[in-house]
Symmetry: C2
Subunit: 209 residues, 2 copies
């Protein structure tokens, strides 16, 4: 791997820059400054330059960045130069919604499997995928090259599912269940609606004149 380690806080912003660059490019902005990019992403221009400096230096002093080149640099830094197989476990309302959400950033992420344990769900179709019983997970993951698992199960079984994903060799998990997962090696990112609402609730607190 050529690239140096990028600080986590910067990594988390790279997708935002990438999206903004794609938008700017589609608006015909071939060259952009850190200032413009910063405005789009709601951050400070110095932060943009610092973040981009971790990818190497690709700007031109007095001019700015070539949006196409910079976009490509970010894609490379993020490893978005290849495809990723994704499975979703737990095909309730949320899982089904994510399954049909096809415009996953630059189409590098492909949902290749949907799993549930509810007999009523098994065999139903979403797009061109059929919901399969969770017992098929291990074999399917081995056959297709799956690297990311999304957990949209009820909270009670999320930990157990995480374990199964890890046992299949999956190293990255996106957890929509309310619980905090414990994993051996897998990287986990947690997305939870009620947590987000509670955080917003805190900031509403003092806000009230």
């Amino acid at each position: 791997m050529k690239s140096v380690t990028i600080p986590p806080a910067s990594v988390a912003r790279l997708p935002l820059y990438l999206y903004a660059l794609e938008t700017l490019q589609s608006e015909g902005m071939g060259t952009i400054s850190s200032e413009i990019l910063a405005n789009r992403v709601n951050v400070n221009a110095a932060k943009v330059r610092k973040d981009l400096s971790f990818l190497g230096t690709h700007g031109v002093r007095g001019v700015g960045y070539d949006s196409a080149v910079l976009g490509q640099e970010i894609r490379e830094a993020l490893g978005l130069t290849r495809d990723f197989g994704v499975v979703i476990v737990g095909i309730g309302n949320l899982g089904a919604a994510l399954a049909s959400y096809d415009s996953f950033g630059a189409a590098r992420f492909h949902i290749v499997g949907l799993y549930d344990t509810n007999p009523e769900k098994i065999g139903t179709r979403i797009g061109d995928l059929e919901v399969r019983h969770l017992r098929h997970l291990a074999a399917d993951v081995a056959e297709h090259d799956v690297e990311i698992g999304i957990i949209t199960t009820p909270t009670a079984v999320a930990q157990e599912v995480a374990q199964q994903l890890e046992d299949c060799g999956i190293r990255s998990i996106l957890n929509f269940a309310q619980t905090v997962l414990h994993t051996e090696n897998a990287a986990v990112r947690r997305v939870d609606l009620s947590t987000e609402l509670q955080i917003l609730g805190y900031y509403l607190r003092s806000d009230r004149g």
Copy 2:
């Protein structure tokens, strides 16, 4: 407002502690140590104690914390001692999934309105709410006491919807669209699937032996 300002990083963890405490309580753990709580939330025990110290001191040296009392303290710090009205704008797959997701942390958050502009959606029901045209937003927000808006629209209209939410006096927005919103005063939290996947993708990069 009695409470001191809590650092953002701590605020973001309080909902996790709260959820863990509720679980521990339901397991019959009336008293818990920072160590136990830390394990549940996957953080360091000193961090738990530091975070809790911002709420005032409620532990007993040599013993630990009373999980019921501590839970209540966290609820108060987060402002979860009253109800919050929530509206969802954009009733596609994701919006509909969130609308039917009723167990919003401790039931303090109540969805009171669903909006869309697609004539085919207007008038359909989810649970006991009917999807209404977005043009009713302002009047509805004024009538019910709505404080939080969730945006699950297509990216292209998210900014415009954010503006409308702000114009109605909403000060907190949860944004599921891919774009970064620009607001005058409203606090925004952004949740985006493709961003999360891209971040996970980065950590898969170097990981590969």
